[in-house]
């Protein structure tokens, strides 16, 4: 159900049929951190879903009808409605489906989580830059920037005096930022957590969450994916299957 073993669809593949009633479909890729956000929310809320993995190095022509930019994640409902952009998909799922709300109901608390999300916004591109630079030039400048961003997050936790970014229990903001922390070990950046003890504790608590632990990312497999992806290999997205 998590799409962990489904081979990706590439150029020349037949477009999938309509989404059956009672299900929602997510177009994803096993190693995409943005799509991981959506999978975390689907799992946390117990939403029945199906996953279609897309070969991002060899995109099917039909996928551009789902998202003109050809990016994952994309949600498709049984009514044919399409929702793009990971943060928007997560918010949609929280609003459209019953059960545990991941966004807080208090407008100010929700605004706080969104402000934290804004302050996190530099991290994804920094991590990708770091990935691209590995083994090449000196990346001390990048490391400095990453350290700055982590310190900002550390400050939030220190001021709030809570385990999670939204309070004493896990909520939307934690899931939204989590996927990039899974990359830390694979990119050998764990040393940065030595200066951010609260962030380190947060990571440990996240790993114990049933939703997070049901969708683990194996370090070796991720590293294998990185290698192939950086070489633009069409095999990258299915690495480890």
């Amino acid at each position: 159900m998590s799409g962990g073993t489904v081979r990706s669809l590439g150029k020349g593949s037949a477009p999938p049929g309509p989404v059956p009633e009672g299900l929602i479909r997510v177009y994803s890729m096993r190693f995409c951190p943005f799509a991981k956000r959506t999978l975390l929310v689907l799992t946390a809320k117990g939403i029945r879903h199906e996953v279609i993995n897309i070969n991002l190095k060899n995109k099917p022509e039909w996928f551009f009808k789902k998202n003109p930019l050809g990016l994952v994640p994309v949600l498709e409902t049984s009514l044919g409605q399409l929702i793009c952009e990971s943060a928007i998909t997560c918010e949609y799922l929280d609003e459209a489906y019953p059960g545990k709300k991941l966004w807080p109901s208090d407008p100010y608390e929700k605004a706080c989580q969104r402000m934290i999300f804004e302050s996190f916004s530099k991290v994804p591109s920094l991590m990708v830059s770091f990935l691209r630079m590995q083994n090449k030039e000196d990346c001390s400048g990048l490391k400095e920037e990453l350290h700055k961003e982590f310190s900002k997050l550390e400050e939030v936790l220190t001021n709030k005096k809570t385990t999670f970014f939204g309070g004493s229990s896990l909520s939307m903001i934690d899931y939204l930022i989590w996927p990039w922390f899974e990359w830390l070990e694979a990119l050998e950046l764990n040393e940065y957590l030595e200066h951010t003890p609260n962030l380190k504790l947060w990571m440990a608590s996240m790993k114990k969450d049933p939703t997070v632990s049901s969708l683990p990312t194996d370090v070796k497999t991720l590293q294998g994916f990185f290698n192939l992806y950086m070489q633009n290999s069409p095999e990258a997205c299915d690495y480890g299957l």
Binding site: T77, Q81, I83, C84, E85, I88, T89, E91, Y92, E95, A96, P107, Y108, K110, A111, R114, M115, E118
Partner: protein, 244 residues
């Protein structure tokens, strides 16, 4: 005269006191498009508010306790809670206050408005770059071309939807979030960028008929006066047009 027609506070000014109950405070600047979004939402929802204008070239020291980088807009309520980033502030107001909802209730329609906002992200930067280029006597052909392309994308959306406004047949949040930059096209000298987008021009005309938009329209000469002083780096720019 709008309710924000007050002189800016600058360096050395006394920090304002706490926000009275029943009122929300907006730290703003009369000509800032991002703050304009928040003023539109406050007005559209009829929310009792007070405005404190900040001199952005001469920021008060105390203002950095409201925003780490001294940016506007920032909302402050009577519980001393601070909310910044214009889009977050607008959503907060819609969630926290009763009455007319500006975002749709339907989760999919709401998601659609958020996706539309993503489509708009290049417009603020491009309009500003055009303004700066024109003011500095530089060529901005490429910039205007890029801006026209963005407007074509928006034109396509309106055409496909066959609605007057971006959210449907009534004005809603997304229209207010876009509006400030369209109001500035003329005074920035780039009104011709909508020459090839007739549906977008119809939207602009419809927006100008909205009571909220109307009530906050800035007089062109006042805006030009601000721009002239702003580009001379004159800190008096922000108070241009206010009687002493």
């Amino acid at each position: 005269m709008t309710d924000d027609a007050t002189r800016t506070l600058g360096k050395g000014s006394i920090p304002p006191g706490p926000v009275p109950e029943g009122v929300i405070r907006l730290y703003s600047m009369r000509f800032c498009p991002y703050a304009h979004r928040t003023r539109l939402v406050l007005r559209a929802k009829g929310i009792r508010h007070e405005v404190i204008n900040i001199n952005l070239r001469n920021k008060p020291e105390w203002y950095f306790t409201k925003h780490p980088f001294g940016q506007i807009p920032v909302l402050e309520n009577s519980k001393c809670q601070l909310i910044y980033e214009s889009v977050i502030a607008c959503e907060y107001l819609d969630d926290a206050y009763p009455g007319r909802k500006l975002y749709p209730y339907d989760p999919y329609e709401r998601a659609r408005q958020k996706m539309l906002l993503e489509l708009f992200y290049k417009v603020p930067h491009l309009t500003k770059e055009c303004l700066v280029a024109l003011r500095c006597g530089r060529d901005c052909t490429d910039l205007k071309l890029a801006l026209r392309q963005e407007f074509c994308n928006l034109e396509e959306i309106l055409g496909y939807q066959n609605t007057v406004f971006f959210g449907g047949d009534c004005i809603s949040m997304i229209d207010y979030l876009f509006w400030p930059w369209f109001e500035r096209l003329d005074v920035y000298g780039i009104a011709d960028c909508v020459n090839h987008t007739p549906t977008l021009r119809l939207w602009i005309a419809a927006m100008k008929q909205d009571p909220t938009v109307c009530s906050l329209l800035t007089d062109k000469n006042t805006f030009l006066g601000f721009l002239n002083l702003y580009f001379q780096n004159n800190p008096a720019a922000f108070d241009y047009g206010l009687s002493c």
